[in-house]
Amino acid sequence: MKPTNINDPEYFHKVVDCQYACPAHTPVPEYIRLIAAQRYTEAYMINWESNVFPGVLGRTCDRPCEPACRRGRVEEEPVAICRLKRVAADNKGEVKSLMPQGPFTPNGKKIALIGGGPASLTVARDLAPLGYELHLYDEWKKGGGMMRTQIPAFRLPEEVLDEEVNYILDMGIHTHFNTYVESMKEILEKDYDVVFVGTGAPRGRALKLPGYEEAKANIQIGIEYLANVAFEHTDKIGEKVIVLGGGNTAMDCCRTSKRLGGKDVTVVVRSPRKDMKASPWEIEDAEREDIVILNNMPPKEFVVENGKLKGVIFGKVRAEYAENGKRTLIPTGEPDVFIEADDVIIAIGQDNAFPWIERDLGIEFGKWDIPVLDKTTFQSTLPKVFFGGDAAFGPENVITAVAHGHHAAISIDLFCNEKNLMDRPPPMTNLVSQKMGIHEWTYDNYIAIDPRYQVPHEDKSISLKDRKIEVELGFDEKVGFKEAQRCLNCDVQTVFETNLCIECDACTDVCPTDCITFTKNGEEEELRTRLNAPALNLSQDLYISDVLPTKRVMIKDEDVCLHCGLCAERCPTAAWDMKKYLYNTPKTYNFNETGSCCK
């Protein structure tokens, strides 16, 4: 294998598993250390810079970072990264003065943002300080998009959302609320230099089984139901409720129903439990509220009696998987099951829909009515129109919408300056030794076995009474500190200097997880078989040195390195050093210059 090029900004970035997995690449370990140091405001600002909605995401994020967390590879459960973000948000001090301060000198360019969700809001935040005049359109009376219309208040209190949406709107954004944009053509005819489409994936799928027409009055589409509840157009539901679907929307619908009068709330899923799309913690939270989840039961028919919905008939299936993993649901032959219901909520998926975009404007659409976009620039086939968030590639989540927003903002800024959209700014990186003296590091490098701490919940008898009572209470400062200490500081890199190594083996011997091997070089596949410990996780790189005097190379399997620094402590020549790697994705402007970032 070739020696590792550690100057490639992506090499060490990949070692910071959580940050790498985060669509917005939030510098996770950096803010977790700040939380442990009770520097909540700074921790919040690091988040705010990357993910724009720390308070929202600290409660609702899909947390792709957590399955990636290194702790999960050496212990049962990953660090509660998401809930630590909330600790920063809950305990922060005044932050507004740390954000870019308007009024900003206008640069003469005007941008329309269609849709007021996280994607558009991120574009707005990234462009406002550069002097763009930003016009945000949304059909609802307030900004936030699905964060407001879909995510129930018992998971995300309105004040938290308002606060973070307002930080952006207060930067001088021109809002056009209660305005559904009927025609892209009309928007294009206005004097906007760029139009950004962040309208989400607003169409919930229906399920027109026999009996649907007659039972229609008591059948609702999940996302419409949730939006109606959020805006208080709906405030009750029948005692017996069936929710169809196994995703997070289904979980929000059933839990919402519990709070609006539903007594027997049943979620019926056609597939096996392990294939359910809902996050495991959402399923857990629903079951904790006595919601029954039934699997392997596809709905067959809405049963109507006296012109009114009576219930639903379900078949029974089992799943079979072909070698390529493709699943087929095969009827088991067991008798069908009838479940009584006063109301049925269908939560089986969402689609993109752009009825308001005329098809003769030069904006091309592909399969499933998804716009044809450049994956890097988010530019559509009409150069001045950009897409982001769920509108771009289909339904995802808030953090993905934010990440899209950052990319689109860069593209828009390049476009308005008539620059090549592919000339994208590089990430900001910084690699600094953490040595403070002999064997002293700036970070707490002792790693203890320490299982994940549980977030306390509000008592069910209280939280089920009112849909606005937040269920999760968040970590208090003490537990937050303990959870923060579980972080392995994956951003503090083990950096090897070949010409300093005297091949004494001290690092190999001391490494608690047998990461380091000195051996003859070879091809990766074969090399992985003869390291000191099995290196089976192919998603993790091997770090290879130049050739040493004994003709061997140093090979470090990054997989289960604890970043404990013992190799560097035991190395007599400082051939190993622990260096903190800060990686920040490019943004449209430098946060330090605008004074927003922590000093």
């Binding site: 590879r73 050496v74 212990e75 002999i438 064997h439 002293e440 490098n445 002792y446 790693i447 203890a448 076995i449 005297i502 091949e503 004494c504 083996d505 001290a506 190999t508 011997d509 001391v510 608690p512 997880t513 047998d514 990461c515 410990a533 099995p534 089976l536 005097p549 004994t550 289960v560 604890l562 404990c564 620094g565 013992l566 402590e569 035991r570 190395c571 007599p572 020549t573």
Partner: protein
């Protein structure tokens, strides 16, 4: 500075036959200087004990004084241990071994601990063929007392302060051969491929197994001109053989070229498998070993590997014809058979 090693280990570590992973054979975190060769030898001991599936309670580690003698703290935390007085490890081991022949005795010493103050004890342990493994972590200096030349420092070797050593060195392996030690090997802390099987073979050997392991002192004797530095040893090392230890009832997996290979069966049925690198050398012929040693030395080379083994070794218990049962387990009745038995003994002298 870390005072404790994380309790984590690699999640895929395999258990050995007695159900332990390698980490179970470790000790507390070392306080020796970072990069000390002694730590690598500790690592090799851990590796060897894991590989032979040793039950930790079956081993006693004993040492004298010195950085080397501190190492038993850094391996086999679950074994018996005795950190004795400077140079007195052999006599303590002799006593322990006499009292309980059931344990495996691992003596750890330094070149100062052995070649100076402990010389008298060392030679008598050899002479008696005490059943033990005797490892000298040989760095050519007194590391613990800040690096004075030891009796194994080579003539002309340059100290850190810059002076040449005016004295001839004691070659401990040569001395052991001279005294008819039944197992003599030499190795280098930086060569675990050789050292680990050597330690395993030494543990299987029923008698005095001597290992002279060159182990650089990074702090006081790793300078240019020193003959015990990492770079000097690497440049001047040569080996009698490629060496492997095959425990009883295990398949021999290494294929050595015809004619060069030899197989030696040890007392307990385990085997030493080796492929000779040195011409005119035979591991069971003491004279050939002595000759090879001198020939290498004359060329300024350091000869490592198994130097000599006597496969008919009879240890001190054999020589004394003691009972099979460990003496410390003998009961009052067995030790004091009563006045009638005494009468008989006395009568036999009349």
């Amino acid at each position: 500075m870390s005072y404790d090693k994380p309790k984590f280990h690699h999640p895929l570590l395999k258990k050995n036959k007695v159900g332990y992973i390698k980490t179970d054979y470790e000790g507390v975190i070392s306080t020796l200087c970072a990069g000390c060769g002694h730590d690598s030898i500790s690592g090799a001991i851990v590796q060897a004990c894991y590989e032979i599936s040793l039950e930790p309670h079956r081993l006693a580690k004993l040492s004298g004084i010195g950085c080397s003698s501190k190492t038993p703290t850094y391996f086999l935390s679950n074994s018996h241990g005795f950190n004795s007085v400077h140079g007195r490890m052999p006599s303590i081991t002799t006593g322990a071994n006499m009292a309980n022949r059931d344990l495996i005795y691992l003596g750890v010493s330094g070149d100062g601990d052995t070649a100076s103050i402990g010389m008298g004890q060392f030679v008598h342990a050899i002479r008696r063929n005490l059943n033990m493994v005797y490892i000298v972590m040989n760095n050519g200096c007194y590391g613990l007392t800040k690096g004075q030349d030891s009796a194994t420092a080579d003539f002309g070797s340059v100290s850190k302060a810059g002076s040449d050593n005016p004295y001839q060195a004691i070659d401990l392996a040569g001395l052991a051969l001279e005294l008819n030690a039944t197992f003599v090997g030499r190795s280098f802390s930086g060569d675990k491929t050789q050292l680990v099987p050597m330690i395993k073979a030494a543990m299987a050997h029923p008698g005095f197994a001597f290992l002279d392991v060159i182990s650089p002192c990074v702090t006081f004797n790793n300078n240019a001109g020193s003959t015990k530095s990492y770079s000097h040893v690497r440049e001047h090392i040569e080996s009698t053989s490629i060496f492997d230890f095959v425990p009883k009832e295990e398949e021999i997996t290494i294929d050595y070229p015809e004619g060069e290979s030899a197989e030696l069966e040890l007392f307990d049925g385990s085997k030493i498998q080796l492929s000779k690198l040195a011409p005119d050398w035979n591991p069971t012929d003491r004279f050939s070993a002595v000759n090879r040693l001198h020939a290498s030395k004359a060329r300024g080379q350091i000869l490592t590997g198994l130097l000599y083994i006597n496969t008919d070794s009879k240890d001190l218990h054999g020589k004394l014809n003691t009972v099979d049962k460990p003496l410390n387990k003998l009961t009052q009745e067995e030790l004091c058979p009563g006045s009638e038995a005494l009468e008989k003994v006395n009568a036999s002298f009349r």
